[in-house]
Symmetry: C2
Subunit: 549 residues, 2 copies
Amino acid sequence: MSEPAQDPVQTPDNPTEEVFHDDEGKPISKKAFKKLQKDKEKAERKAATAAKIAAEKAERDANQVDCSKEQKRYGKLPMNQSHSRTDTKFEDINTINASRAGETVTVRVRVQTSRPTGGKMCFFVFRQGVSTIQGIIAADDKTISKQMVKFCADITPESIVLVEGKIVKPEEEVKSCTISCAELAIEKIHIVSDVSVRLAFSLDDATRPESAFEQDPELPRVNLDTRLNNRVLDLRTTTNHAIFRLQSAVCMLFREFLIERGFMEIHTPKLIGAASEGGSNVFKVSYFKTSAFLAQSPQLYKQMCIAADFGKVFEIAPVFRAEDSNTHRHMTEFMGLDMEMAFNEHYHEVLEVLEELFVYLLSNLKERFAKEIEIIKKQYEFEEFEFLPKTLRLSFKEGVQMLRDAGVEVGEFEDLSTANERFLGKLVKEKYHTDFYVLDKFPLAVRPFYTMPDPENPGYSNSYDFFLRGEEILSGAQRIHDADYLTERAKAHEIDPSTIQPYIDAFKIGAPPHAGGGIGLERVVMLFLGLGNIRRSSLFPRDPKRLEP
Amino acid sequence: MSEPAQDPVQTPDNPTEEVFHDDEGKPISKKAFKKLQKDKEKAERKAATAAKIAAEKAERDANQVDCSKEQKRYGKLPMNQSHSRTDTKFEDINTINASRAGETVTVRVRVQTSRPTGGKMCFFVFRQGVSTIQGIIAADDKTISKQMVKFCADITPESIVLVEGKIVKPEEEVKSCTISCAELAIEKIHIVSDVSVRLAFSLDDATRPESAFEQDPELPRVNLDTRLNNRVLDLRTTTNHAIFRLQSAVCMLFREFLIERGFMEIHTPKLIGAASEGGSNVFKVSYFKTSAFLAQSPQLYKQMCIAADFGKVFEIAPVFRAEDSNTHRHMTEFMGLDMEMAFNEHYHEVLEVLEELFVYLLSNLKERFAKEIEIIKKQYEFEEFEFLPKTLRLSFKEGVQMLRDAGVEVGEFEDLSTANERFLGKLVKEKYHTDFYVLDKFPLAVRPFYTMPDPENPGYSNSYDFFLRGEEILSGAQRIHDADYLTERAKAHEIDPSTIQPYIDAFKIGAPPHAGGGIGLERVVMLFLGLGNIRRSSLFPRDPKRLEP
């Protein structure tokens, strides 16, 4: 309301003379003053009416909030302490499609993004694992209030919400979501768990393909360290969900294949009394009043199981390496997929099992996990993995010859450097069109003490490595099963036999000839998917500089 | 040959006088001397003839050796270095039965016992894993020489031999072997790997049932420490083969059940930056220039995977406890079978999955591993394991009441002692006829800081334990998924939140309500099979006093 017009000023020295002024204090006539007053009163009445109307509208608006609120259509739920069960069906969003249009469903989803438009609508991308679906809410002043829409617009990305909504067939495909032929018209939305901190990065930024930066180098890029420092958030990307589904699959397929062939799963100790296998690169543990060491591999123990007649064994377990290597392919803790097997006549019986295992692994990954591979490919854009139905097996000698033919200077009995490994992989790929091959008969000198020498070619041994995209992912060999010869070879490698006495003793009571191998799980996943860094295929990687999270 | 009789002594001082002496130097007559000489010559000729006959027999015997030797029917093979492949079929002895009588097969077996009889025959018990078969060899002077039989008799038990033999249907069942309807008539036998030391015990002694000692307390008993000190030998018993087949099966069934229900396998780090969960009982590791700790459980990491939206996860991995407990059920390293799962409304959704998992596990062990169970039962003589198709679930309060009704003094909010656990198990078994049940709603004070309190009953929590034969084998709960409340509860347990910051941070970016549990693999196997000591269900057990073999 505007200030009332000034009253006529009565000056004490002129009490009877009426003087009239206008709003700015200028003297005016009595008539003019009266008119002014009437106008003002009219304006006041008008303002009062407007205020009344506004108040009534506010009251109506307030009633409209109640319509959503009273029907308990939105809000934040109290912390779930398992008060009760309603047996509501919580849908997997992957079951939602256009043919179910009209159905009302309940879903619990993560808010990936929210985009309010004009105060009356809000669009969501909801996420569940590797899948996304669009959600829409629009105020209608009957069931959905503007307040409810505002509540939606304020939900922080990465909050978990419980949504009840009607399945709607959108006018055009929702290209931004994995579920493109259906969306959810939100009828109820409640926050189950919200975000109380600023996110280190958005999931959109963390999922961006490498190629996008070529087009626009200004786009925010989430580097690996930032990802690993905020690993839980980073793991939520559809890419990471797919990577770890695939990691899980590799273990499953490894076991499937071996259990089918009569292998037995074993669990060997990681705490060991003496630093075996030479004693370098081993972590020391305080063990009550003495010290223990962390096993660098289950090698000696899986062989002891063979000496105990278990015949065919495998183990999936962490292995620990105290190597101060800060490369793209080294970690201090990684998962070893190990197998060991007694053979009848020739270690190639075992090598064949391992080759078949890999063909099984690679072909089943491609067939059964095509969806996950596609998702990862969107971000990492790797080349299709090629392999042969019958694995290519070259001798080390042949490998050296191929390198020499290509102009690389390399010694006959010299181990392959990482660069030479990769280059050989390239040569093999060009010549044989495979990203997977085996190199057999490595030089004896570059292998561990327990490796069986080749019986005919001095300087070589009954050992092999497997390569994926030019990098080693499996190392294996026939092992020495004769106690005296094993002792001799240990000494030749400057290993004190007394530090591995229980291992050597195992062969004094008779052991069959045997061979085996160990696979680095994270390397297989990294190389198959072309991830470029082993930390991307480990949930919570450990290296000399990282022990957290 | 005997010494020739003494020549007549010619003394220089009496050259012409002939003096005759007998063998003892007494003078005798010339005639007597002549007779003596004749007798001697006769004896010499007789001896020569005997020698000739013996030599001829030896030559014949030597020829007989050749018959076996020339046909290369026995001997010790050189160390197998994978010289060649003959593609001989090596049979599994389990495929041998009376219907194959007459067939010649090749088997590689362990000699469990050998029993020579009368120099012309030898009986063997041959072993392959959990199976045994009788082998017989008898000299026939045509193909099987006595020398070959002697070679057989000299083979040390536990040597590995390659046997070619004919399948024979024995006149009566061979009760001492698992394969009783067939035996092997040995035609060739070669040692693949022999035993170069005195065995610490015989496999027969190590496999003897407890009841045998009741009948004859003088029988050699192999105690647990001797077994563990000579673990490779001990592991060869049919009982141990069956125990570890069963241990392997528990892991397989655990995974089978969970993978079928959409669970994902994870691998979380065992090397951690800070001592979590209170910091006691944790092993410290030298980690380059700093220290790390060994994870006491995957608890915090599996929950972080839930915060990363993995939904349903499991892990099979070693866990480490630096507890100086020297009991029948504690080890410093054991296998944890862990699962964690987001739920929609109530933690009982998860509890139900765990209960179903156990019913699946127990029933499949009984059905699919009946043979192994029978073998173990022969030595350990445990009672049949009883369980209900729908798991019995009691509240902690009900458990306490049952104990009180039975006269045990126990506090309302007091944790169960091992003795009370067992006694309650006995009461439950009497009343409900089950060796497996669940206790729900433990007192809050006796559970870890991250346990969700019961929303209605102060002092209790949303947590549970599973029991097999009255001992705890699973511990689990709904976890707190709210970062602020988690911090508050950590502090209440005197845990510095900064030591578990990455864990708490995971819940600041939104997490669904979730619950889970961890199973001790070796405990499940020990209790299901009534082994009485957890070291019997661990390949190479670790306790405060044992780090080897």
